[in-house]
Symmetry: C2
């Protein structure tokens, strides 16, 4: 029995690269065995939450897409950076200039965007045109105290047709151009993981994070005292198992195998 599974009461699941690979005309494809794996977690009595840096859609659209792939998932089970950023802006009186995917825009419908005093970037994909990046740069450099909020800081992710450069790269571009440091909402920020764990009503050391991003999923969770297991799906590369800074608590071929191990260890929450 793998020691990472001992005493686990709650499971945090990354979505892209663990449940499905995004991209393509169908909007992606479920990773074999993952639909059943989610169902088996539910049946086991383990607490479950989805912890994603997805910022190409509202949480509602995102959940509907996963439901079309037959995943058992509901909106209130998802911790996502869009809603977290919205909350932060409301608390701090921030009015964003948005450089995000068109499909994420409705998440911020109710937020005042006049005379922006911050820039929010998400995984804008095709919206990362030179013109749009330059516009965001000019908003920032024109502020007395530039505030850049980044929805995650991933380096890249995998779509069905290949690897895609992620929001973290554009965050670094704007940080450098403006000589500032962004505030990250989403993994690997500690607040983000802790809000997901708190939602489940467990302690960090009772939860395990399962993800395909060695730095943001594994390293991020571990810094909160959450165990973390790397799947060999999604953007996984063999060199991730020799990462100079991060060592996962376990390595599995895919989510299905992680659930096999969890259930074999008799960790069911009942």
């Amino acid at each position: 029995m793998a020691s990472w599974a001992r005493g686990v009461r709650a499971v945090l699941l990354d979505v892209s690269g663990v449940l499905y690979d995004s991209g393509g005309p169908e909007g992606g494809a479920a990773i074999p065995g993952s639909v059943e794996a989610v169902n088996r977690i539910r049946q086991s009595g383990l607490k479950l939450r989805f912890c994603t840096n997805e910022s190409q859609a509202t949480r509602s659209q995102f959940v509907h897409k996963l439901q079309r792939f037959d995943f058992s998932i509901s909106e209130e089970e998802v911790t996502a950076p869009g809603p977290a950023a919205k909350k932060m802006m409301q608390e701090r009186g921030l009015r964003p200039h948005l450089l995000v995917h068109d499909d994420l825009l409705p998440e911020f419908d109710s937020i005042d965007k006049s005379e922006p005093n911050c820039v929010v970037i998400g995984d804008a994909a095709e919206n990362f045109s030179y013109q749009n990046v330059n516009k965001a740069f000019n908003v920032l450099i024109g502020l007395e105290k530039p505030v850049l909020i980044s929805l995650g800081k991933g380096r890249y992710y995998k779509e069905t047709d290949g690897l895609k450069i992620d929001v973290g790269a554009y965050m670094k571009a704007l940080e450098y151009a403006c000589d500032i440091t962004a505030e990250v909402v989403g993994k690997p920020s500690q607040n983000f993981f802790m809000s997901a764990v708190n939602e489940m009503g467990v302690k960090p050391d009772e939860a395990v994070m399962i993800g395909d991003d060695v730095v943001n999923d594994i390293g991020g969770a571990q810094r909160c005292g959450i165990r973390a297991v790397l799947v060999r799906t999604g953007k996984y590369r063999p060199s991730d198992e020799n990462h100079p800074q991060v060592k996962a608590d376990g390595y599995v071929d895919n989510l299905a195998q992680a659930v096999d191990i969890l259930l074999a260890s008799g960790v069911a929450g009942h």
Copy 2:
């Protein structure tokens, strides 16, 4: 008399922001007094070289543009990153994937670009689409030893219609996405300044660099033992005079004033 002018035998001039501001339908506008200032340097007997990170055009096109603004300048007087990168690729057997401005492409006509084993980025401006940046990322991440060559690493520059984010930001984006460090050809690299000084046949401490970029022009030149003077034109901002790392040897309102000071100090090379 300003001490920075003492014993100067050679002048290195940055171009964009010192001679002219680029941009707009006319391709930019000369900065008042700069055409005459260049002529006065020539008449003084001081050695002169143009040291630019311009990478939106071939050296030849760039020089023709400046000549249309009445600047006295010839191709062989210009140290530019395109030709320097070409030389480096020839010496090291590098075959580039190019993410550069369309107008720079002819500079690399004679270079083998099949099966790329490196990526070269310049100030690609509108060519910095998400698709093109993602393509460059995929070339790099697919290489066993990714080599990224950046034509300069400027944060931003000023065009006639405002500030523009520069190649350095995209260099940082690709560095982060691929977890690599780029090789910079152009200012502030030491090789680049030294080749310009050597072309003039003077020692570093006999030359003065005049530029509008506190890090790349001023800091870069000073690290080679070249004096450096910041102009208050181009992308200059008052905060540049309180830069935490870099203190220029002198500050002038524009190139014309720098030349006034140089000539008043009787430094003429004859």
